[in-house]
């Protein structure tokens, strides 16, 4: 990362700390906002948050590594997460998984080379009455069919 990008990130983080407060209970909302804007929380960002909250960087890393929605690696533009829990499984999640892998040319757990799509499984989304369901970034898609999945992928810009 360039020096100027780092100082931009530092300014952004200090603004977030100002907004949420520098107490320990503000850690999760701050990390969630960094995650949302950047798609991941870099090592540098974790260190900077730790410095401003006056806690050890390991504490921040411990929190980041605990929660499934907080990521450290670079994330693709579209993070596709398919629910694999029981009701979606019963509603033929397998056909959706197959369609996604075929259309994107990657397996679950992988990212396309152009960093446009990443594909993952996720545990119960709470859409059990409308399965199969998936999230693309924070958007929920329900009652999926292979045909509908292709349409959704085509509509992503």
């Amino acid at each position: 990362m360039l020096g100027s990008e780092l100082s931009d990130l530092n300014i952004e983080i200090s603004e977030l700390v100002e907004k949420h407060g520098n107490g320990r209970q503000s850690l999760l909302p701050i990390l969630q906002e960094i995650q949302k804007r950047h798609g991941h929380i870099s090592g540098h960002a974790q260190q900077e948050v730790a410095r401003l909250l006056d806690i050890h960087p390991v504490e921040v890393n411990g929190v980041v590594s605990f929660y499934a929605f907080l990521k450290t690696g670079i994330r693709a533009k579209y993070n596709i997460r398919l629910c694999k829990t029981i009701s979606c499984e019963l509603a033929n999640k397998a056909s959706i998984a197959k369609t996604l892998e075929r259309e994107l040319g990657i397996k679950f757990g992988e990212t396309t080379k152009d960093e446009r799509y990443s594909l993952e499984y996720i545990n119960c989304l709470g859409m059990c009455d409308q399965g199969p369901a998936m999230l693309i970034n924070n958007e929920v898609y329900t009652s999926l069919t292979p045909h509908k999945v292709i349409e959704i992928l085509n509509n992503l810009k």
């Binding site: 850690l27 999760l28 995650q35 929605f69 019963l90 545990n123 119960c124 709470g126 059990c128 409308q130």
Partner: protein, 390 residues
């Protein structure tokens, strides 16, 4: 999507001006009314709500907190999603009334990260109550100040456990605490904290509007009131239903259009699996308790595959803090894989069932204490069918 059958409590007219009535009462009278109603916690554990509130109300502390547990992560459960969408204001009213009853200053809603799309709707409802002076400073001129803050989870099932949820609110890893002390004594930031499920809190304004007697006359002697049930799986009409406690499984299946049923999972992944022969059992704290999930399986389903799905879930969602849960779930899943390959001896299977019993009594929190339930109940009820493939 609204509740699919004729509602009992969750009809808008039942709530009337329960909120305003409540704020005209003395705080302790609200606690007594809730206790009198017989309401028990709707998250699954079923602790009497009035008793919990009484403990918090009588605690002497500088600050107190209310937490609305909207971390609805149990597989097959989505009734809080429907409540937060259709009854947003009633949920908020319940939080404020609890705050008034125990004399708290701040309420938190801990919403699971998967429901982030609801954030603006909930925040709008909070703003509306503020504009109407039903939230904020000097609420309805009663000299009572109260704020509600919405906080998001980040994809951890274990944070539905109340002490893990509080750890998460405090900015820590969501690892459950030893209990006691219970949150009602030492909760958020060490202060007395009432943690209640969304459904529990949303029921409060209706109880205060129509009275404790009205509420305690619904349901059974040991399970007063009604329950929202999320139904999914092999049924014609999946969705949320409201039923009085004591409703038979047979009637429930008829209501949701289940055909050719083989098994029913009651209470989500951590619940119990019963066979279609047990249709006369009923949904209540004394027979089949549930946090609100029923998943129906028809005769085409392979029970071992279903069990495998549940055990994979628990292996991933165990926080890893205590050994019985971290290693135990892994061993149970390995066992399922061995059965699948025909490599699990009956003697080893018996050992695994006894490991499950050990996990029930030695795990630190409800996750590890209940995760062996599907393993034990599916292999006990459907053991013959599963081992017949040997």
């Amino acid at each position: 999507m609204p509740i699919l059958n004729k509602p009992i409590v969750f009809a808008k007219e039942n709530f009337g001006d329960g909120f305003e009535k409540g704020l005209k009462m003395k705080p302790i009278d609200i606690v007594l009314a809730v206790r009198e109603s017989g309401l028990k916690g709707r998250g699954g554990a079923g602790f009497p709500t009035g008793t919990k509130w009484m403990l918090a109300a009588t605690a002497i502390a500088e600050k107190k907190f209310v937490v609305c547990n909207a971390d609805e992560g149990e597989p097959g459960t989505f009734k809080d999603r429907v409540l937060l969408t259709e009854f947003t204001e009633q949920v908020l009213q319940g939080i404020i009334l609890c705050g008034y009853a125990i004399r708290a200053q701040v309420g938190y809603i801990y919403l699971r990260g998967e429901y982030e799309y609801m954030v603006s709707q909930i925040n709008n409802a909070i703003q509306k109550l503020k504009n109407e002076n039903k939230l904020g400073k000097n609420i309805l001129g009663k000299g009572f100040d109260f704020e509600i803050e919405l906080r998001l989870g980040s994809g951890a099932y274990v944070c539905g456990e109340e002490s893990a949820l509080i750890e998460s609110l405090e900015g820590n890893r969501g690892e459950p605490r030893n209990r006691p002390p219970y949150p009602v004594n030492t909760g958020f930031m060490g202060y007395p904290t009432v943690v209640n499920n969304v459904e529990t809190l949303a029921t409060i304004p209706a109880i205060l509007n129509l009275g404790s007697d009205w509420y305690r006359n619904i349901g059974t002697d040991k399970s007063r009131g009604s329950k929202l049930i999320s139904v999914s799986g092999d049924v014609e009409f999946p969705g949320v239903y409201e039923i009085p406690f004591g409703t038979k499984i047979k009637d429930m299946l008829e209501l949701v259009g289940a055909k050719d049923t083989k098994a029913i999972q009651i209470g989500g992944a951590s619940g119990t699996c019963i066979s279609a022969k047990e249709l006369n059992r009923n949904l209540s704290f004394e027979d089949l308790p549930t946090g609100g999930s029923i998943i129906v399986f028809n005769n085409s389903r392979n029970m071992l595959k279903i069990l495998k799905n549940f055990m994979e879930f628990f292996v991933e969602e165990s926080c890893g803090q205590c050994t019985p849960c971290r290693i135990g779930n892994k061993k149970l899943l390995d066992g399922v894989n061995m059965i699948e390959k025909g490599e699990c001896s009956v003697a080893y299977l018996k050992e695994l069932l006894s490991l499950g019993e050990t996990m029930r009594i030695t795990s630190k929190c409800g996750l590890g204490q209940s995760s062996p339930n599907p393993f034990i109940s599916i292999l006990t009820t459907f053991g013959d069918e599963i081992l017949a493939t040997y």
